[in-house]
Amino acid sequence: MALAFDIVLVLLILGVATWTISARDTFAAVVGFIGFGLVLALAWVCLAAPDVALTEAAIGSGLTGGLLVGASARLRRTETTSGETPSISLRLSAGVVCTFISAGLAAIVLELPGKAPTLAPQVAANLAMIGLDNPVTAVLMAYRAVDTLLEVVVLLLVLGGIWSLAPDHLWGGSPGSRHLAGPDGVLPFVAQLLVPVGILVGIHIFWIGSVAPGGEFQGATILAAMWILATMAGLVDMPAVSRRWLRLLLVAGSAVFFAVGFAGFAMAGAFLAYPEAYAKLLILIIEIPLTLSIAATLALLVAGPPERAPQE
């Protein structure tokens, strides 16, 4: 029964994926991709990875989807000029090559060693030392904290890269156009209703990350989405990117991360090491500003480069 469900789900995933690739209209393909992400999140639940399922739904489907929807809507006007389709021979040879690659990969998957290697026992053995109950959070914040640290830097760096695409005279301005709330707007009404709920949910998901599925990335994504929603509804405006408070907000998370990392030299003898008694507290001290920073970064990544000149 469970296997039948798995197979149906897999077929559904592949069907939506095929639609995403084969749809003639880019917008339709993007909508297909969002659906793909949601179905894939179900697959992650079946693979006993609820943390990943949340992330997939929030970032893989939600944020990426939103970004692509916006992009395809803006590209619609130009799409008519690029109607050329690749030749049938290219499609055929590409099909053959890709089938070959898929088959090879599938063969390797089937041939994976019978006794799968795992680090789960080692993760479990040290879990008590960190004081966390969610093993995934422990990996992200302790064992492989340096990956997480670099990843947050990657996010900031990409944000800087996106800002750098603004024309010179708009540098330091606000991203996106100003959304004005209409008097009978549906969106402002919903945003007023939804944003407080969403913020609560975001904080909740972040907060339970230490014991249950959730964590800073998932929570931050929801917070970011609420910010975007509020902006779209015209309740708030995107700040000018040269604002000092914004820069501080963006960097706060990684700054605290680095600070605690360096404190590790003194307190526990290694960079990013936590003394046993304070591990949980220190991780929380990192996570709170980190969540806010990631939320701000994600929202601004979706907002894009500055499009309005800074007010002098």
């Binding site: 549906v186 969106l187 919903v190 209703l193 939804l194 709920v197």
Partner: protein, 97 residues
């Protein structure tokens, strides 16, 4: 007792699934954007409500039940908003499909 609950769940979820099916058929068969939206949102909201109702018989605690109802309410809100926005966009772009 649990047999009765299971039975209620099955009935409710099946009814929900039927409404989903009806909504989807409407989406595919109705002629223009507004009537498609009409079919889809009404049927799906009811369908989801029935599915949630069915699942309520299975949950253990009050908190979990509240969460399920919360999910339904949020979906209602989202569906209502999106259909409003879609309908306005459809009206703005004219009567043609």
């Amino acid at each position: 007792m649990s047999l009765a609950l299971n039975g209620l769940t099955i009935v409710a979820v099946c009814a929900g699934a039927f409404f989903f099916l009806a909504g989807t058929v409407g989406l595919l068969r109705f002629p223009d954007a507004l009537s498609r939206l009409h079919a889809l949102t009404k049927a799906d909201n009811l369908g989801l409500g029935l599915v949630v109702l069915g699942l309520l018989f299975q949950v253990g605690g009050v908190f979990a039940a509240l969460k399920l109802i919360g999910v339904w309410l949020l979906t209602l809100l989202a569906a209502a908003t999106v259909s409003q926005l879609l309908a306005r966009a459809a009206r703005a772009s004219g009567p043609h499909e």
